[in-house]
């Protein structure tokens, strides 16, 4: 009985991992050789929509100046842009900095200061956005440094009336700080340069990542606004827009720098938060997505389901290992026959390699040739991610709506040591390379 269960479990794991492997490989080939779908990148003139840029902040004094300076330096028409830093109960100097900028640029910078209500990024955004009537709401985390043309690039897709949300590319700024930042740079490259762009090319489901992107106000209102009980309000809004028939688009050309975690404990907390939030979305929308009431194309449904399952894969992987160990001890291996040995060997040699292929291809496309040499060290990153995500995914909180969502701290490193900045930044696709 144990042998039978272990055999079934192991082959389930092999099948699941093979599906994700094929997906990695297919996406990479599409990104390398497929026709690039970047339909909005050439829009440089037009009757630009009114844009409100929201910058949620909680103790961000170390980084928020750079972000506001960069936003003020963008070339978006001044009369159509308002920047709304949303301070949620900061206890450091953040609020004073925001007031200083508001005094200097009263027409363009309008801080929204919160001292009560539910804490957290989603709640802060929900409250602030209800006060503005701009056509498009863009969101940047406080450590992000947008380039001069980024706002136009992100606003351009909204000329298309079917587009409900847009996502730009996140590029790590502090790449050389540690081995971890180098590994995260590779993961980010794989997640955006290949994964997101391939989804865009194929008309699948690019993911809105909660920052360096935005939503159409009317679409947001139609689907009920931000959910304040979700740990992954970005993934949540992606699926609600998808299920309501809106298109989410990815702009690979619209790059913005961010800080990635420089220490492993911060990274572990970050990826566990992503996993819990993502799994909440999985439990909420999987059934509806499969029932497909909006008659979405099958390819979008399949991709949507696979995307939802990304953070369950580490659990499946560990289950597969446990089953393999069980089978090893029970001596079942010889009974599989040469073909089974060949199949498992083939998977181990070719299958497991797909994630490395995706990351290497992305870095090569990025022109980051020499950075690929740290590729073998990604094993360590995968190991940490697998166990951290598996732990998060097996927790009860991972599958239930949160009663109390609060700011989850992500340390900032600019200006010296990591200090207590925060945001709920969550760049889902970056976790893809882990699978």
């Amino acid at each position: 009985m144990i042998v039978l269960l272990a055999t079934i479990g192991m082959w389930v794991a092999v099948v699941v991992l093979t599906v994700y492997t094929a997906r990695h490989y297919f996406f990479t080939l599409n990104r390398l050789f497929g026709k690039h779908r970047q339909p909005y990148v050439d829009i440089v003139a037009g009757e630009w929509p009114t844009v409100a840029v929201f910058v949620p902040a909680h103790n961000e004094s170390a980084v928020i100046r750079d972000s506001l300076d960069a936003l003020l330096a963008t070339d978006y028409p001044r009369d159509r842009l308002v920047i709304v830093p949303v301070d949620d109960r900061s206890s450091d100097n953040t609020r004073a900095i925001l007031m200083e900028y508001a005094t200097r640029e009263p027409l363009r910078i309008r801080p929204h200061l919160r001292d009560g209500g539910q804490p957290g990024k989603a709640a802060a955004l929900r409250e602030a956005m209800e006060l503005y009537q701009a056509d498009v709401f863009l969101v940047f985390d406080a450590d992000y440094i947008p380039g001069p043309r980024l706002l136009r690039q992100l606003a351009a897709p909204f000329f298309d009336p079917e587009v409900g949300a847009v996502m730009g590319r996140v590029v790590p700024l502090n790449v050389g700080s540690s081995l971890l930042t180098r590994l995260l740079d590779l993961e980010r490259a794989g997640g955006y340069q290949v994964d997101q762009q391939a989804r865009m090319n194929l008309g699948l489901v690019p993911q809105y990542g909660g920052t360096v992107g935005g939503v159409r106000r009317s679409a947001l209102r139609q689907v009920g606004g931000w959910r304040v009980d979700s740990l992954a309000e970005d993934t949540d809004i992606t699926y609600r827009l998808l299920l309501a028939g809106w298109e989410v688009v990815y702009q690979n050309r619209s790059e913005c720098y961010e800080e990635v975690p420089e220490t492993w404990p911060v990274r572990i907390r970050q990826i566990q938060r992503w996993a819990r939030g993502h799994n909440q979305v999985l439990s909420t929308y999987l059934g509806r997505l499969i029932r497909n009431p909006m008659r979405l194309p099958q390819r979008q449904v399949i991709d949507g389901v696979l995307l939802l399952g990304v953070f369950v894969v580490p659990l499946v992987l560990i289950m597969g290992w446990v089953c393999a160990i069980t089978l090893f001890f029970t001596g079942s291996r010889p009974q599989w026959g040469p073909m089974a040995v060949l199949a498992v060997s083939a998977f181990n040699t070719v299958g497991n390699f797909a994630a490395f292929f995706q990351v290497a291809a992305a870095s090569r496309l990025d022109g980051s040739r020499e950075r690929i040499r740290v590729l073998p060290f990604m094993l360590l990153g995968f190991l940490v991610s697998t166990f951290a995500v598996a732990r998060a995914s097996s927790s009860r909180s991972s599958w239930m709506k949160q009663k109390d969502v609060s700011w989850d701290k992500t340390e900032r490193y600019r200006g010296g040591n990591g200090n207590g900045g925060s945001n709920g930044e969550r760049n889902g696709p970056t976790a893809e390379a882990k699978v």
Binding site: R65, T263, G331, F353, R369, L375, L380, L383, V384, G415
Partner: protein
């Protein structure tokens, strides 16, 4: 009416491109003075061509045929290596042969150490428990930048713990003999050698590297694995013979095929950093905003 003069290089490059029958796409990328306008990294990609298709089909086929042709000499070389190590490492009196049929008309004679390992003694089991505890303790104690190593050690400890529990509760015989295990490793090695051309083809030959670089990685990988497999099998057999069957599970699950895969990951990571001299070398990612410019922090931060 003033006329703008065209930089001299443009005329030459334009003429040259036109003479070669270049497409509008080529001309569109023609920069000032004949230079090439490199596309942004978000736009760059590769172009499927008959030459690439040829690379994808022919090169792996050549590699595969080479492996098949060299299998017999390779097995003789493995036997020679194992025979040379057998004496000093006390790994039996002779090297025997096991014939493995890979396909209906393809068989390979894999050399095998004729040794066996016993069921772990009480002392060996106790040593195993201590080893497991040390692994777990070090794994749990590692902090900071060593956290991933800590995870690795704890994973190894968990795997060894499973072996400890098994050998404590179960009784002999163990399902695998050391000789069968050793030959299994080498047979898996042969299978990997046969799969390697397809792996390199699918993951490296698709890029725009010149032919000699593609062949170089293929040769490096096959050469490396061909030397690694008998040495890997020898180390496994020696360890298991001296430490008992207690070492077999971890060696098989972690330092077997998984290690072989990471040999390719390492070589692949290196090869992917080579210059191609073509499309993908056109983009060079410059460092982002200099960090010095960003180190302005408010006094109270």
């Amino acid at each position: 009416m003033a006329t703008r003069s065209t930089p001299p290089g443009v005329d030459a490059a334009f003429t040259d491109a036109t003479r070669r029958g270049s497409t509008g796409d080529t001309l569109r990328k023609l920069g000032v003075q004949g230079g090439r306008i490199a596309p942004h990294r978000s736009m760059i990609g590769l172009r499927a061509s008959p030459a690439l298709l040829l690379d994808l089909l022919v090169l792996p086929s050549i590699m595969l045929v080479s492996v098949f042709v060299l299998l017999d000499p390779l097995m003789r070389a493995w036997r020679w290596i194992m025979d040379a190590l057998r004496g000093p490492l006390d790994l039996g009196d002779a090297i025997s042969t096991t014939v493995i049929t890979l396909a209906p008309s393809i068989a390979v004679a894999v050399p095998v150490y004729q040794v066996d390992a016993g069921w772990p003694t009480t002392a060996q089991l106790a040593g195993g428990w201590i080893f497991t505890a040390v692994l777990a303790s070090i794994g749990a104690a590692l902090r900071g930048g060593f956290i991933p190593v800590g995870y690795l050690l704890r994973a190894l400890a968990m795997m060894q713990l499973a072996a400890q529990v098994w050998f404590t509760l179960a009784g002999p015989p163990f399902p695998y003999s050391l000789a069968v295990y050793g030959s299994g490793l080498l047979v898996t090695g042969v299978v990997i050698l046969l799969l390697a051309p397809f792996l390199v083809g699918a993951t490296f030959f698709v890029f725009d590297f010149p032919l000699h670089k593609k062949l170089s990685l293929g040769a490096l990988l096959l050469g490396h694995l061909a030397v690694l497999f008998p040495l890997q099998a020898t180390v496994h057999v020696w360890l298991i013979k001296n430490v008992s069957m207690l070492a077999m599970p971890m060696l098989f699950l972690v330092f077997g095929v998984l290690l072989d895969v990471f040999v390719y990951v390492a070589l692949y990571g290196w090869a992917m950093s080579w210059r191609s001299g073509r499309e993908l070398d056109a983009v060079v990612r410059r460092p982002p905003v200099p960090s010095r410019r960003l180190r302005r922090v408010s006094p109270n931060a």
